[in-house]
Point group: C2
Chain length 622, copies 2
Amino acid sequence: MADIPARTEISGPDSLNVTTGPLPASRKLYLSGKQHTDIRVPVREIALEPSALEPPVRVYDPTGPYTDADAQIDIMRGLPSVRGEWVRARGDVEDYDGRAVRPEDNGIRGSRKASAAPLFPNVVQRPLRAKSGQAVTQMAYAKRGIVTPEMEYVAIRENLGRERAIENRDPGQPFGAEIPDLITPEFVRDEIARGRAIIPANINHPELEPMAIGRNFLVKINANIGNSAVASDVAAEVDKMVWAIRWGADTVMDLSTGDDIHTTREWIMRNSPVPIGTVPIYQALEKVGGIAEDLTWDIFRDTLIEQAEQGVDYFTIHAGVRLPFVPMTAKRVTGIVSRGGSIMAKWCLAHHKESFLYERFAEICEICRAYDVSFSLGDGLRPGSGADANDEAQFAELRTLGELTKTAWDQDCQVMIEGPGHVPMHKIKENMEEQLKHCHEAPFYTLGPLTTDIAPGYDHITSAIGAAQIGWYGTAMLCYVTPKEHLGLPNRDDVKVGVVTYKIAAHAADLAKGHPAAKMRDDALSRARFDFRWRDQFNLSLDPETAEHFHDQTLPAEGAKTAHFCSMCGPKFCSMKITQDVRDYAAKLNTDEMTAAEEGMKDMSEKFKDEGAELYVPAESR
Amino acid sequence: MADIPARTEISGPDSLNVTTGPLPASRKLYLSGKQHTDIRVPVREIALEPSALEPPVRVYDPTGPYTDADAQIDIMRGLPSVRGEWVRARGDVEDYDGRAVRPEDNGIRGSRKASAAPLFPNVVQRPLRAKSGQAVTQMAYAKRGIVTPEMEYVAIRENLGRERAIENRDPGQPFGAEIPDLITPEFVRDEIARGRAIIPANINHPELEPMAIGRNFLVKINANIGNSAVASDVAAEVDKMVWAIRWGADTVMDLSTGDDIHTTREWIMRNSPVPIGTVPIYQALEKVGGIAEDLTWDIFRDTLIEQAEQGVDYFTIHAGVRLPFVPMTAKRVTGIVSRGGSIMAKWCLAHHKESFLYERFAEICEICRAYDVSFSLGDGLRPGSGADANDEAQFAELRTLGELTKTAWDQDCQVMIEGPGHVPMHKIKENMEEQLKHCHEAPFYTLGPLTTDIAPGYDHITSAIGAAQIGWYGTAMLCYVTPKEHLGLPNRDDVKVGVVTYKIAAHAADLAKGHPAAKMRDDALSRARFDFRWRDQFNLSLDPETAEHFHDQTLPAEGAKTAHFCSMCGPKFCSMKITQDVRDYAAKLNTDEMTAAEEGMKDMSEKFKDEGAELYVPAESR
């Protein structure tokens, strides 16, 4: 059942609650592959009322086993393996004794003597890595012409309902995106090979249900979670991860900056069916007591290995924050607002040296290719206010990210590029165009952008306006913004509002890009609305519970949910009802009458065209 | 004080509560005119902390006397006259014995014997109208070259802060809007004369603080209120009106469809400093017991007079729903969803006759010009789903509205045009372009549009995405959508969320259009954010209370509001703090070093340009 916490007792001070069970009227189906017959791709099917005379509506489903009525969820054990066998079957990996967890991985140093968080009971002691000289990335396979199970999985997921949708396809305005009528495994492979899409899928994250990020796929969304120095605990973060994907998050970033980072991440990884991203410099900074200038390549490198062994699927690396770009931010209204960006700026200034992330980038690639950790090249110099949007610092960094993309691709590493931030509407398109141009169509992954700075408390909305647009223009994944942005840490409710808001932005973008399958859900819901199938209207919505709750605030009686009216107009008059009269009327019009009516309209239209503005002469003084 | 209901005792079953007092850190100033020295134009001034070393920030203020600390608010008496003297001074109006209120005006018929609503105590018995043969519209004066007090009032309001803003003006991307650096009274006059803007200002609404709607002015927003057959009462509607303008609604539409429509409207009119719009066919329908086919021109005409005498500032008239267009909706997914549109469609079908609104349009104009009621030409055939957007029915009606615009202009009537509705993003621009083309730049006034149909409960957001875009493209006023859209009647909280969301959309549009004064508030807030002036950040926001509340959820201590850190990163590390180091560093760089750095960057950039994509050869298989 939805929203009833499934309590799982664990040893230790916290108890882990996550929400499980299907969404209303929904069941989970698994589709199998043709090339890889053992893959089981989840799809959510929403049943309609019998009076609809319509088949169930299938929707993309990132929620994992948590919404499967038959799944046994055990947070203590973690999720079952989805792709462990696929990885091993390729024969290019080996297991080895992993790096031992060190006290500083969990912020244990100085006066802090012990971890407060319970350890995950089933830590894998021997992680996988590529055998010497091998590249185990999806890009490496794609370049060699191999369709991996991950690629076929993604093709089936993305292709949802498209065979039915092709005939009614609205071409949209795709701004150069090339979305085929049908997504084939080979199409996925080719997109990965040319770097236009990625499948973030660390070989040490067997629980992952593969998904793709690229401009020719459905627009994805990311939700950020994570503790901070002032709040949060392990149980709350695992709960937020499950909660975020329940409402539609396609990936989750763990941005923890407090204590117990390593342990928190282990719980998240082992229970996550979606790719997990991190910003490794955050943990590295904790290891040096928060003193940016004390960071070293060795500490950073060690952190990368630590996280790669745990299964992190993508790393935000701010390697574009170069020393010469730092002074470009001095005259900004809001300077450097990216946490990672400012850490690196501080380091560069303190040492008066080029960034070690930039200088050691090839070495970082070596690590990423050995575990298939995708790059999310961070925009450390993104604008923190509309005033700073699209400035010299931002675009200098972007061009550097394009350079680094090529370096990473040369090593078969998968790459996406992070983008702003705060950008007024008229400057959004330039961001997308510059990114496409300088980063060679590597997927763009943007935060918002926020289109105005004057609405703290509503920045999910200021940014959804920008996110929908940049998604339409070509951004492949949108990083959510919650109502608490700039003000505090999101709680459970904020996470849900942020995710649903970004599902709206992503879906609006899919519709505008002309994604063949996107429109089916809108049309089904619109028909339900028109037919007063209230239950179907709720169940087809992004948030059935809120929709029903709002309806019930005005008309709480159960009968009102089958009533052919609503609270806006009341029972006596209803525009929807009148339309039925129109249909009856139109049906009764025989062909002659119809033709006459059409002729009449044509006449009128001709007349209008002929006489135009001259028909009604302007008033004398104009 | 904000948000403390000021209880006003009234005789009768209801008690009227409205929220009064200034918004946080704000005071109301009144600016006087140069041509009309007696006008007092309200401006809200937000004080900043002394450490800001910045002057207070002035913002546009539609809130009326309710936020004036010195105002005596008495709902029983209504607001004081702002412009009664201006109207009389023109010498072209006369008072007369108004139409007597009839029982059916308040839904008293059949079994309903008496009104439940208390009467407004101070009804004007002798309304004003134009002397015989006179046109008393702002357009009529404008065409004669007259700058009315209303026009100068608007110029001062719109010009807010612009003299300071000109130098930093971001040109934006105005899509053909021609926004001058400074708005002069003569510019307002010329825009009114050519029909590109309106000042909705019924001569019987002396309480009005004039405002303009037009593509070369700030984008405005409208909030809908009104009772229905199933809910609401007089006190709640007056409260919602005051509450809506408190958060920024520029006009309010009273869409009441239940009992006591006349009396409810009287309370609203007498207490409203903003233009009030109505859909007269709603009340006319009530007068004929809800039977659309029983409507007659006489009943409709009488309703127009009734409402014009009360002071309604604009009428939605669905005169474009013509008989030949009605069958065009038969194949739609959601038919006709406009209530007014379906009433007229029903009438046309029942009588198999052309709409009386269309045929009698010239007579409607006569009424409007005698009271200066502006037209809001209704889009009765607007799409109710993305599937029906931009179809034949919608655009056939739009072209008719363009025709009617010319007819109205010939009679010196002010006109705006209503627009959709439900439109996916890639079809929004076409709406604006068609409207500009066929309606001769008469102001466009759109509902949303909603960019997807799959998020009931969040349609303030699905529609804000579309509203921001169409506002940018040229829409002059955005009709808000609340979270309850499609589900129920908005309560007080929904009204606030709807208004704030639409202020965001309108402001994002102003920024993108390059409105000279819009950016000042964003920049002031961004500086406050960067300086950790938390109080200033809250006070400059559209909703200070929510911003502060969200902040306090994570860091409730009063000290945290002056702390130079926030809950996201905690006290130890802060990117904002690091930027100060960057500034110190950049300042220390002497000229030689700066030049060297710049040279270095130039070199790098040249190198990149020269070698470009060839520098990093693609991997072998690509």
